[in-house]
């Protein structure tokens, strides 16, 4: 079976939406509408779940929904007639019955977007409207989930993220999965090479010019301008704007030495593996190798 479903997986605030905007600019024929991103429903979409289940998903618990999600994801994958991207923030995980939450790995590929966790902190704090210290705590929590509320109408299905560290490992250290990992920072500094690698992996062939045109149309100034014109529907109500700075090194102006130290100490090995540990970074955090 040719794999037509491609998960765009990432820990939140790692560039998932940015990549989806680039893809929309590549695939779309009209001017980009940030609220109509080329049909890339999130893995936790209740709409997709109910499309295949035929009943109200808020009538079942998060745990019950999890048991059904592998079946739903397989049905979705089988219905993909062409390369189809889906946003995903869930960590890769097996349910108690041994089923992988995302369905049979033979039915999909994954583009995993990783971002320097030092950069994620301020972005996550802004998104969740919490302090930087609280954001760091959330990134270290092994039971961290999104949409886990049981008190109000849950807009999306629950998404178990685990810690940043466990999230990255879940997708990148599993031989069962076909994964192409790209770094946020490489999309920023080496867009053509990085995006071409990702799209070729997905099974799409674009000219260099087309990729660069789409990338240019997706720069942060353009996106922020579009967000001013039309409020982005993925923005939490109490946050001024979804798109913030997008600069890979802005964390240096936002984190204290102690905060950077905490992030690095919790994630040193992974950060080193993905090239985020440099003498400059260690010096900022007051750490030695």
């Amino acid at each position: 079976m040719t794999k037509k479903l491609v998960w765009l997986s990432s820990y939140p605030k790692s560039g998932n939406t940015w990549l989806r905007i680039i893809i929309s600019n590549l695939l779309g024929e009209k001017e980009l509408d940030i609220n109509d991103l080329e049909a890339m429903p999130i893995a936790s979409s209740r709409y997709v779940f109910e499309f295949y289940c035929g009943f109200n998903s808020t009538n079942i618990t998060h745990d019950e929904a999890d048991q059904m999600r592998p079946v739903v994801n397989d049905l979705f994958a089988k219905d993909c007639e062409e390369i189809t991207f889906r946003k995903n923030h869930d960590a890769f995980q097996y349910l108690e019955n041994g089923q992988p939450l995302h369905g049979n790995p033979e039915f999909y590929k994954t583009i995993y977007i990783i971002r320097n966790p030092l950069s994620i902190v301020a972005s996550l704090a802004n998104h969740n409207q919490v302090s930087l210290d609280r954001a760091i705590e959330q990134m270290n929590k092994e039971d961290y989930s999104l949409s886990k509320t049981t008190r109000k109408h849950p807009g999306q299905l629950r998404q178990k993220l685990f810690s940043w560290r466990s999230h990255v490992k879940s997708w990148n250290e599993n031989n069962e999965l076909e994964v192409q990992t790209i770094r946020y920072e490489d999309i920023f500094y080496q867009p053509l090479e990085t995006l071409k690698k990702a799209f070729t992996f997905a099974g799409l062939d674009f000219t260099d010019k087309k990729i660069l045109d789409a990338y240019d149309k997706s720069n942060f100034n353009e996106i922020k301008q579009k967000e001013k014109q039309s409020v982005f529907n993925e923005k939490p109500p109490n946050v001024a704007s979804f798109f913030r700075k997008g600069q890979p090194n802005s964390w240096k102006e936002e984190l204290t030495q102690a905060q950077a130290q905490k992030v690095i100490e919790s994630n040193y090995e992974l950060m080193e593996n993905f090239g985020y540990i440099t003498p400059e970074v260690l010096s900022f955090a007051g750490l030695k190798k």
Binding site: R46, F51, Y52, C53, G54, F55, N56, T58, N59, I60, T61, E64, Q67, M68, P70, V71, L75, N97, Q99, T150, R151, K152, H153, P154, G155, V231, F232, N233, K235, P236, P237, N238
Partner: protein
């Protein structure tokens, strides 16, 4: 997991009554609902997957570890429940897609939302899940003399709303906001913080003429906004508010329903109400209610 095998064959016999259904036994609810054995599969399904099978006049819904429902010809519903499931849990699913499909089979319309009546005029509050339909309905009933026609799903022939499910379904945050005592409410599933709230503000009419449709959305800008829905947009909104429109499409109802919806769209007023949550989870139902009251004065 293969869900169809998770439904154990613990059939019980006996008729099922829906306590909140106002017009029991009357059109369009002249339907035979009972516990029994459902077929394993449909002979000629248009669509089938591990959760449901459907044709133009048959629907087999299999909800793992809860129940299986078999709906035929708009006349009969058979429920085969899994052991240890209580009656209210069954009702929760019955009063959802099972009844919506039943109405589609009858050739009637079924909308997601809440319908209310005042002075013989019926309004529908539509919008996606969590938009605040039941909350606004509660406000209109408590302070503005509106009566409940149906909550959750609203059934219609394109001219009138039929009195349907006469209770409000509210989540715990709203129940606490209005200081309901949890013990006075019905909790259909102990694992869920979703409650049925009984009310005495019920319409006495069996059918109420449709006057207006309000579509609730959350506004990400810090303001309340109203927008008249006009022209072809009306038809789009009505179709989008159709309960389980994918199932209706699979049942080949779309073309037929569009004719009725187009006629309805020509006769009624429609408006989008966009609200901004002042704090997370909170809208101002009083403010939205005043918009509707002003429309009623015109």
């Amino acid at each position: 997991m293969t869900p169809q095998h998770d439904i154990s064959k613990q059939a019980e016999s006996g008729n099922i009554s829906i306590p909140f259904l106002s017009q029991k036994g009357n059109y369009p609810f002249n339907v035979d609902i009972k516990y029994g054995s459902v077929p394993d599969y449909l002979e000629t399904p248009i669509e089938q997957n591990p959760f449901f099978e459907i044709s133009t006049n048959e629907f087999l819904l299999k909800i793992p570890e809860i129940a299986a429902f078999y709906v035929t010809n708009g006349e009969q519903i058979i429920v085969e429940k899994t052991k240890n499931r209580n009656h209210n849990e069954i009702l929760l699913f019955l009063m959802d897609s099972v009844f919506a499909v039943l109405m589609h089979q009858k050739g009637l319309l079924s909308f997601r939302g809440t319908a209310l009546e005042k002075d013989g005029k019926g309004i529908l509050l539509g919008g996606s899940g969590g938009a605040g339909k039941s909350t606004l309905a509660r406000e209109l009933m408590s302070h503005n003399n509106f009566n409940l026609i149906s909550d959750g799903h609203v059934f219609s022939d394109g001219k009138s709303f039929f009195s349907g499910f006469q209770m409000l379904t509210l989540w715990q945050d709203i129940v606490e906001y209005y200081s309901y005592g949890l013990k006075s409410l019905i909790r259909p599933r102990t694992k869920l913080n979703k409650f049925w709230v009984e009310t005495n503000k019920l319409t006495k009419k069996e059918e109420t003429e449709i006057s207006a449709v309000y579509h609730l959305t959350q506004n990400k800008k810090q303001e309340y906004a109203t927008m008249d829905i006009t022209g072809a947009q009306k038809l789009k909104y009505l179709w989008n508010n159709t309960s389980y429109r994918r199932l209706a499409e699979l049942m080949e109802r779309k073309k037929k329903n569009f004719g009725v919806l187009a006629q309805l769209a020509g006769k009624i007023n429609m408006k989008e109400l966009a609200f901004y949550p002042k704090v997370e989870k909170e809208m101002d139902p009083g403010k939205l209610a005043r918009i509707i009251i002003n429309d009623f004065k015109k």
